[in-house]
Subunit: 459 residues, 2 copies
Amino acid sequence: MLPTTEELLIALKGILSQDQVSINQTILEQHSKDESYHTPSLPDIVVFPATTEEVSNILKLASGFKVPVIPFGRGTSLEGHVIPYKKGITIDFSLMNKVLEIREQDFLVKVQPGVTRTQLNKELKKYGLFFSVDPGADATLGGMAATNASGTTSVRYGVMRDQVRDLEVVLADGTVIHTGSLAEKSSSGLHLNGLFVGSEGTLGCFTELTLRVYGIPEYIMAARASFPTVHDAVSAVVSILSAGIPIARVELVDEQSMKQVNLFSDTDYQVKPTLFLEFHGNKAGLKQDVEFMKEIVADCQCEGIEFETDQAALNRLWEARHNLAYAYIHGYPDKKMMTTDVCLPISELAGAIEHAREELNKLGLTGGIVGHVGDGNFHTVLMIDTNNSEEIKKAEEFNESIVLHALERGGTCTGEHGVGVGKQKYQEREHGEALKVMEKIKMALDPENLMNPNKIMKF
Amino acid sequence: MLPTTEELLIALKGILSQDQVSINQTILEQHSKDESYHTPSLPDIVVFPATTEEVSNILKLASGFKVPVIPFGRGTSLEGHVIPYKKGITIDFSLMNKVLEIREQDFLVKVQPGVTRTQLNKELKKYGLFFSVDPGADATLGGMAATNASGTTSVRYGVMRDQVRDLEVVLADGTVIHTGSLAEKSSSGLHLNGLFVGSEGTLGCFTELTLRVYGIPEYIMAARASFPTVHDAVSAVVSILSAGIPIARVELVDEQSMKQVNLFSDTDYQVKPTLFLEFHGNKAGLKQDVEFMKEIVADCQCEGIEFETDQAALNRLWEARHNLAYAYIHGYPDKKMMTTDVCLPISELAGAIEHAREELNKLGLTGGIVGHVGDGNFHTVLMIDTNNSEEIKKAEEFNESIVLHALERGGTCTGEHGVGVGKQKYQEREHGEALKVMEKIKMALDPENLMNPNKIMKF
């Protein structure tokens, strides 16, 4: 029989200090939702552990009581990942927020899961280093590993999974394991790093992460290039990649979204389908690459290209891009955001974006298209009135149409946001028989189904 | 009760043609060993499937009879991976050797598991593309995925796991799954690609691989730089990496091994600790990088550096390096090769190589040190008389000392060769409680323990 909240509270206060356990209504509400349109739901209790040992004790206790556990970073997920639909204990990692070690020569850093990406980069800057993965939100690194987050730089540096050298994980029964080592590469054992990254809290809680970092490039050059159509912009990216020009970032922002950018970020960029590009390297090499690139974009009907090399202009450009989601949220204060997140082989990208635009028009929905086009990943940002069931229905119809279009062409239903509850309905369609393998692994590691239950898989 | 070989033979001939099933003694012997010193052992039967469906039927049959199954590529593994110590059916993939599809724009290729890396590169060259992973042997791509192979280029392009976008896998019960998609990145489901790569046939047989390929770089420059000591050479690599110079390859070959190279490859390279380096990029960028690198190596006591840019000289250089293992085998025809394969954080590399050299001298063993030093991975190549139990004991003592030294410093017992049977004894030491997680996954996916049993894990 499940314990009452009162019993659970007493037990948790036996292993944690008073102020590490909360049933305060405001705290519960803060942990009932993420940044998506998914319906909130309160946890029974929120705990704030400070050490791996405390996390292990919490999981032992929860496992004894058979109570669900939901790890929580900053609640910036976009598919309901952290919403405790089955109640239970939410573990908030905000007290575990230390950068533990920086190994300059090894390009490695060891952090606690509650460290955010901007916090880490501030620390790394002192060493001439940076951490590459940059989702829109200032998420925690634990959360970013849990969803296999990426962002604008993965075309050059890879996604979150590529950066994780080792995770300390507390399993459902409280056992503490390490999934990797400090070595750059390994063929030892089964590869647990890759499996736990992107597991969305369904296999265990991350309590320490060892991550790959990079030297700040000698020279950075950024550009904004505008095009008559989205199709022309995507063609330009395909041509640049095919020419072997190493892009560090390439973001597509459509006309509608450029309007939001200008409104929110106080810029006066041209309101046209635009590529935001960045190149990292040495000065001589970049100069040659950029000359070549200019020829390529000209062949793709580019209507104007502007370069920036000074740091202030670079920062303004990328802040404008990063704030885009918030620009939409700010622009539609009564609505909530729904974001599509498919990723396709790049040869299918232009067609997929055209299809998305047609569907938007057909359904009469307001939305902008933005994307990490170098990876074949794009988002449609929709602002929807969650009190209007007709509008939700239309938005879901739209999302489904985008997902099916991608899956039919070898793509995935989520390039970087993860499954949570929002993409569960596409898991069987995308993975087929492999979904059963995932379920077997989940049941082997968490037989009582207590770790963030009913996320990714439907049980 | 297990079937007799005769019964198994009859059953297999019911689902395959006559010439796809063999109990010929020569064939059995060819499939009883790999390129290592591990004791050979014959399979009961060797089969040669031509399609995924045939592989699935073989596994269904084997699973019904509860007979072990061992996937086999070209037998170039180095830790006894393909030796059928528990007998059973060896599946030889040599008939499944087609390049199925090349998607130029997507930088993807779909191949059958029996395609070798040189066969693939020959095909890709027509499109201006290449496949980056290059272990010493001309292994099959299925085998390379099974061991998470790497080689000289992983410092720039990553290891085998980084190239695998999707695997078609036949599981122990004959079910066919796909572990990924054609998308460059995905946060959908649990990440099975990473788990199956490096699983050494213990979770299933690969029947199709979709792999990332790269454009042949505009400009390639290679160099040989010799140093008074191995320590100086490693320091130079650490400095080059810290300076952010993007190396495509950096190989260390010690004095002893340079002798073997010259003997076998008919070169007259200086007999000194030597770095073989390669840089990929555009001409202007490389020129700047190379000037900077010259300054760095001069600071590290470099005694001479020679550059090559013409294709013939480049080929000669890398062939000499690739043939090193064969140079040793050729030089000691009565002995067998044992190769250590640790990988450490690069700050620990120079110390580890010094330790290896001291241990070699202390034990009076003959061996050369070579390594992919940009990754922190090095090998000691020992030629041992497998009839001399004293020599085997010494070599194993040496290997153990190298492994423990690496594990104590956050390294791994195998950077690229895999576990097979040779590195099993270090699995608990390296992975601790995580080994139990690996065992649970294995038992969840192969409950009868029929897929390459007693490899990686001891059961």
